[in-house]
């Protein structure tokens, strides 16, 4: 019943969507604008129908309706309710359904907000979103049908993948990721809409989608950080990033979207980089689809890869159509995209933005090359290779260091051209921040050139961005006689775009410090100890108090209770665990993390004697890792500042 309802909802939605896709160009070509409200209604109806399917799926999951193939695949009676609900995105078919749902929601919201705008841009953008929706609907009735019939009906299912039911972040990271990923379809749809409707010269598409792009970017940033955090809290290896294809897939569009956020300002301010921006928006969307293709088709080996079938061919056809069509559109419109401004001086903010774009794009191409290289190697030489962390680290460090430096230079420079005196006044003082961080890093024992440069340039950028606040606040104090607090609030409130950006910079710098410190100064130690014995690492002593085990409905848990010692005083306890799921071959660890301002004590239970007489414990000291999570929060906060409607605009 639920199954058929949901299945039919998707089928009907396909007809509705198809109508919308046809109605828009017909209305435009024949001048029957009366059709447009119906096309918009198709967008809302699609949202309603896909919602019906998604809610039906959640209902089937919660009621353990194992006659639905997806429920039989990921459901389990012993699984706690929360993880049952979120297994909606735990496997291929459900994740495609969730994707389609988010997309239909975005489309409905975009049309709701912009439907009154005259002109052809919004209808064409809506048609573009419907086109993407149609593709996902095809997947849902074809290779990724979550509503297949299972007969005979099993009495129970295996439950979700143990890794996905082991941490609350699984309820947060995937939705954020989908919201960010799918959100990138909105600027893409408007870019395509602008090209189709011939309104590309007006830059309206960019103004309309500014907040959409920023929101999607903020969500994607948060999702990447949450993913890092999840892997840190769940996988037990003490790391948070491994350049796995699926991580790269989320990072690639982030890079181009970040580039776009900067180069869009150049277009708004100076009327330059129009064609480039169009390419970035189209590229970002293509990268989201490419990333989905890579992780859903099983084309590259990844720890996250979903089970595969024929879905890869559908994605390939879709990517080919979207790539060729959008590139043809861009090429067809490129003659109209003349720059109205030009670069006046090398010493200007737009030049730094241009460099920032070059490096971000180079970063994207580097990561893309590394991700696809195994495929190229097999195609050309017929050999199986894997590209590991050393490649990515070596290639990305120079780029990251340069970007950190540019992040300090950009905010300091004015638009158009800076005089020599201005340059000196703006660029020299932040060197104090660089020097300070360099000394701290040297004293702490860093010797690697890139590590030192990363600390120094992050210090430079931190100083430069903070200084912008300080200069602005001081000016307000002098001009209006305000206190520091009032000055800060009014300064930021009066120019949200700019100070939101600086806040996001500070967040990125915090993340950079966290990554640089934890990869440079990380120490670890592993030992097998008996209850009562201690294990020590860089000034931290842990005593194994006891081993314990307990049965839970869906798993068995074995844990170690360790006391954090300060001399003979007990400061606290840590309980790393191992979880055994009946359907999983290997146990899933739950490391214990004790976070302090300067770093984390990270403890993982590696092995134990069944009688509890000893345990193998790995202790890792992870300096500044909490800064990464906090920095991610600051980035999102910065984006929120910039997203909020600006009451009045002062000079930026």
């Amino acid at each position: 019943m639920t199954r058929l309802l949901a299945h039919d909802a998707i089928l009907v939605s396909m007809a509705v969507v198809l109508f919308g896709i046809v109605a828009v160009p017909v209305a435009m070509r024949t001048g029957r604008r009366g059709l447009l409200p119906y096309a918009f209604a198709a967008v809302y109806t699609n949202f309603f129908l896909v919602s019906v399917a998604a809610v039906a799926m959640v209902y089937a999951l919660v009621t353990h309706d194992f006659s639905v193939s997806y429920v039989a695949q990921v459901g389990g009676r012993a699984t706690p309710l929360l993880f049952t609900v979120i297994s909606l995105w735990g496997a291929l078919e459900g994740s495609i359904l969730f994707w389609a749902w988010v997309l239909s929601m975005y489309a409905a919201a975009v049309v709701w907000i912009n439907s009154r705008r005259p002109g052809n841009l919004v209808p064409y953008a809506a048609a573009t979103l419907l086109f993407v929706s149609f593709f996902f609907a095809i997947l849902l009735v074809g290779p990724a049908d979550p509503f297949g019939a299972v007969s005979p009906v099993p009495s129970d299912g295996p439950g979700p993948n143990p890794l996905l039911q082991n941490h609350i972040l699984m309820a947060i990271h995937p939705p954020l990721l989908y919201l960010g990923y799918v959100g990138m379809s909105v600027p893409f749809a408007f870019a395509v809409g602008a090209m189709l409707s011939g309104e590309v010269e007006t830059d309206d598409w960019m103004r309309i989608t500014r907040r959409w792009t920023l929101s999607a970017w903020a969500l994607l940033s948060a999702a990447i950080i949450a993913g890092m955090w999840w892997s840190y809290e769940v996988l037990g290896w003490g790391g948070y990033w491994a350049w796995d294809p699926v991580e790269n897939a989320s990072f690639l569009p982030w890079l181009t979207a970040t580039a776009f956020l900067h180069s869009a300002m150049v277009q708004e301010r100076r009327g330059m980089l129009r064609l480039w921006n169009l390419n970035l928006v189209v590229g970002t969307f293509l990268l989201t689809i490419l990333g989905t293709f890579l992780t859903r088709s099983g084309i590259v080996s990844s720890v996250h890869a979903f089970t595969t079938g024929t879905i890869g061919y559908y994605f390939l056809a879709f990517i080919a159509i979207v790539m060729l069509a959008s590139l043809a559109l861009v090429a067809g419109n490129s003659e109209r995209l003349r720059s109205t401004g030009r670069f006046d001086s090398a010493a200007s903010r737009e030049t730094v933005f241009l460099l920032n774009n070059l490096f971000l794009t180079a970063f994207m191409f580097t990561v893309l090359t590394g991700t696809l290289f195994p495929l190229v190697a097999e195609a050309i030489k017929g050999v199986k290779v894997s590209v590991g962390e050393p490649f990515f680290n070596r290639m990305s460090l120079p780029i990251v260091v340069t970007l950190l430096f540019l992040m300090g230079v950009g905010p300091a420079l004015p638009w158009k051209a800076a005089s020599k005196a201005e340059l000196k006044a703006k660029l020299v003082p932040p060197a104090a921040g660089a020097g300070l961080m360099l000394v701290i890093a040297l004293v702490a024992g860093a010797r690697n050139v890139y590590a030192l440069l990363a600390f120094a340039f992050a210090g430079y950028a931190a100083f430069a961005n903070l200084r912008e606040y300080w200069i602005g606040m001081r000016a307000r104090r002098i001009a209006h006689g305000e206190g520091w607090g009032t000055a800060l609030v009014r300064l930021v409130g009066g120019n949200r775009h700019r100070y939101g950006g600086y806040t996001a910079h500070l967040g990125v710098i915090l993340v950079a410090f966290g990554i640089a410190a934890s990869s440079t100064f990380r120490t670890e130690y592993e030992a097998t100890i008996k209850p009562g014995e201690t294990i020590s690492l860089s000034g931290h002593t842990l005593r194994l108090k006891a081993m314990w085990g307990r049965e839970e409905p869906q798993r068995s848990v074995v844990g170690a209770t360790l006391e954090v010692m300060n001399g003979s005083m007990v400061k606290g306890t840590m309980e790393p665990r191992m979880n055994f799921y009946p359907m999983s071959q290997s146990p899933v660890p739950t490391p214990a993390v004790r976070s302090r301002f300067l770093g984390d004590l990270y403890v993982n239970l590696q092995a134990f004697r069944p009688d509890g007489s000893n345990a193998t414990i790995r202790v890792i000291y992870e300096p500044l890792v909490p800064w990464i999570w906090f920095g991610g929060g600051v980035v999102v906060f910065g984006a929120l500042i910039a997203i909020f409607p600006t009451g009045r605009r002062t000079d930026a």
Partner: protein
């Protein structure tokens, strides 16, 4: 239309699409298994599902690999919670039946599951022609380097692993492998 730009874009995009198309024909996880050609790990496992005559074995009987020497052995790892096992169940059962009386022995190995669930599943699926055994602690599965279920191992008459199939098997594959192994044994 700016044809120069369009050409450059096409020159970048078309090879990429071809590369992906090629990639879809490859399986990155298909790292050549080191097992084929090697002696199969011995096992002695208890029957929990007897199968149907003439292939049946009494429940509780111990099936030893050693006693199957001289026969082709088809070892199918499955579980009641495994969805793809449903796809191949009928095929395996029917094909095994058609080989009755030939020097071929089909054996199901229950993986990470309760025998009770296994028996119930077989009943629901309309019976299984050949017997299934339990694998306490998944020891045999580990010895065979099982990656997931279903996986099917084809052992030749001399007790070596000749072929390993990952995922559900089809009738053509079973017949092809079993027939060629029997032909080799007959020589």
């Amino acid at each position: 239309m700016n044809w120069k730009r369009a050409t450059i874009a096409a020159a970048c995009v078309v090879p990429l699409i071809i590369l992906f198309g090629y990639g879809l024909t490859r399986d990155p996880k298909d790292i050549p298994s080191p097992l084929p050609g090697h002696e199969a790990s011995p096992f002695a496992l208890a029957v929990f599902a007897p199968g149907q005559p003439p292939l049946n074995r009494a429940p509780g009987d111990t099936v030893r690999l050693a006693e199957l020497k001289g026969q082709v052995v088809v070892l199918n790892f499955w579980a009641s919670w495994c969805l793809s096992c449903r796809d191949e169940h009928q095929i395996l059962s029917e094909t095994a039946k058609s080989y009755a009386g030939k020097p071929v022995h089909f054996l199901g190995v229950l993986y990470n599951d309760e025998p009770g669930n296994g028996t119930q599943w077989i009943e629901q699926m309309g019976g299984q022609s050949y017997p299934s055994v339990t694998d306490p602690g998944a020891r045999t599965a580990i010895n065979y380097g099982l990656y997931g279920v279903p996986e099917t191992y084809f052992l030749d008459a001399s007790g070596r692993i000749a072929y390993k199939a990952t995922g559900p098997v089809n009738e053509r594959l079973i017949r092809h492998v079993v027939d060629s192994l029997m032909a080799v044994a007959a020589k």
